[in-house]
């Protein structure tokens, strides 16, 4: 039987899915073991149990100076920035993408412009953002917006263009105006795809968030990581990284579930 036709059983599927995680953990433990055996006060690769203890401490014990549990505080602040940024970017991406996809005049005007703008490396203009918007929340949110909006616009407009022409013509023969076609034909068909592209752009959004926080902030997950880097506190950094990964994965999963629940007609995506 050919390899492409062999299907793993259910149990094997679960096992195969776990395998790379287990391999990573084992590889890390072994490396950590070797280093700690050579030097018990090594800080670079703390043992898994040390990371566990640190994690418990970070999640439960309040900061001595402020009395707040910093990890939760960082999480709240960072997620708020991320959500505001991603939400604004989605809104702009959806609106402009729909306009470009549906209206030939807007496409003629903005098509090339957006393609050019999307090539600007967002991090390269971070200093401009800090100078223009100050070091406060606005600059960080704007970096996320600037970072992912062009991608969303391009993706949404392409998906609008990809809507079968037959459907657009059909709507016209039912008397739909341009606005009705946008709201009742294009928008609902685009929504599951928008969620898909938002899921794809969450990775860059996190990147821009952490970059902005690392450079100028006094709270937030990215700020904390770059702060404790000075003390080589790898256990703290690793806890934060795992936490961020978990959050990102959770958001992605929630979006996927929401998309399936809200748009059952769209079929199974990724």
């Amino acid at each position: 039987m050919r390899l492409i036709n062999r299907q793993p059983s259910r149990a094997l599927t679960v096992f195969l899915a776990m395998l790379p995680f287990a391999a990573l953990l084992i590889a890390y433990s072994v490396a950590s073991e070797i280093r700690l055996a050579a030097n018990p006060s090594d800080r670079l690769l703390p043992s898994l149990s040390t990371i566990g203890e640190t994690a418990v401490r970070l999640f439960t014990e309040p900061d001595k100076r402020s009395g707040r549990i910093l990890l939760w505080y960082d999480t709240g602040v960072s997620l708020l920035r991320l959500f505001i940024g991603v939400f604004c970017a989605s809104f702009v991406g959806l609106t402009v993408g729909l306009l470009i996809g549906l209206l030939p005049h807007v496409r003629a005007m903005l098509g090339v412009f957006v393609a050019v703008i999307s090539m600007i490396p967002p991090l390269a203009i971070l200093p401009i953002l800090f100078i223009t918007f100050g070091l406060g929340e606005l600059a960080k949110v704007v970096l996320i917006i600037i970072g992912i909006t062009p991608f969303l616009i391009r993706d949404v407009s392409q998906r609008v263009v990809d809507i079968p022409h037959e459907l657009i013509v059909k709507a016209q023969t039912l008397g739909a105006s341009s606005l009705v076609i946008a709201l009742r034909v294009a928008l609902p068909q685009i929504m599951p795809r928008l969620i898909q592209s938002v899921r794809l752009s969450l990775g860059p959004a996190w990147l821009f968030l952490i970059a902005a926080e690392a450079i100028a902030s006094d709270l937030g997950l990215g700020y904390r990581i770059f702060l404790v880097r000075r003390y080589l506190a790898m256990d703290v950094i690793l806890t934060y990284v795992i936490w961020i990964t978990l959050l990102a994965f959770l958001i992605d999963w929630l979006l996927r579930v929401a998309s399936r629940k809200l748009y059952p007609w769209a079929g199974k995506g990724l």
Binding site: P164, E166, A176, L179
Partner: protein, 255 residues
């Protein structure tokens, strides 16, 4: 004056001549089957009837009104695929035919209830009453086309255009669809244009069968001449006893 009049239509894309000297006059309630080889312009002709494209020369009028510049409610269309909205339930697809010409595409609350009841009645009649809440992807190909035809007719168009509507269906379903279409026609007396590849289907359903072909052919420049209507058969009574052969007007006699 005839119901639909096509007056000396030409269509060119640059130097490519697609259609030339197409004239046709159709009475209200006639069923016109359009056949011809692939690429002979029969689907293009349908797009011109739909006003999705404009002819380079000549004009198409319905009931003598000004030629349309874009598709509208007076022309209904059913395509071979993508004819219903996949994001709406089967019932909402029918309701859409009533609501899409309202502002924002929505009916007022009172109207909506009535429209839903009418849609349900329509679905019951076309045998989809039990599928009202399903999405079109759950329907078979034949059911989807039935829904698409019902949706187009709900908007009460003046003419109904069918672009190979049964091309993707299996032969059994196709026969059922023929009966379905014949019944609907008897009820609505709709004027229908149907593009088809299937000659038998064209003659079975149509009152007239018109054939598109390229009567002139320049071997050194194949795109110089476009296609036109070369035959106009009377297809009632199985095409017997009488047919108009227009060949003499268009084709060069063999040398």
């Amino acid at each position: 004056m005839s119901f639909v009049s096509v007056d000396n239509i030409f269509l060119r894309y640059g130097t490519f001549s697609i259609l030339e000297r197409v004239s046709l006059s159709v009475e209200e309630g006639e069923f016109i089957s359009i056949v011809g080889a692939s690429g002979c312009g029969k689907s293009t002709f349908l797009r011109l009837l739909l006003a999705e494209e404009q002819p380079t020369r000549g004009e198409i009028r319905i009931e003598g009104r000004e030629p349309a510049v874009e598709p509208g409610r007076e022309r209904g269309i059913v395509f071979q695929r993508y004819s219903v909205f996949p994001h709406m339930s089967v019932r909402d697809n029918i309701v859409a035919a009533e609501s899409f010409d309202k502002p924002l595409g929505r009916l007022k609350r009172g109207e909506r209830v009535a429209a839903r009841e009418r849609a349900q009645a329509t679905l019951d009649r076309i045998g989809l009453g039990h599928m009202g809440h399903a999405y079109p992807t759950a329907l078979s190909g034949g059911m989807q086309q039935r829904l698409a035809i019902a949706q187009a007719l709900t908007a009460r168009p003046r003419i109904l255009l069918l672009d190979e509507p049964f091309g993707a269906l299996d032969p059994g379903t196709r026969l059922q669809m023929h009966d379905f279409l014949t019944e609907l026609r008897e009820e609505t007396k709709m004027t229908v244009f149907m593009v088809t590849h299937d000659l038998q289907e064209g003659f079975k359903l149509g009152d007239r069968v018109i054939v598109f072909d390229k009567p002139r052919w320049d071997p050194t420049d194949p795109s110089a001449y476009g296609a036109t209507i070369t035959y106009d058969f009377d297809a009632r009574n199985n095409g017997i006893p009488f047919q108009d052969i227009l060949e003499a007007d268009h084709a060069h006699p063999p040398a």
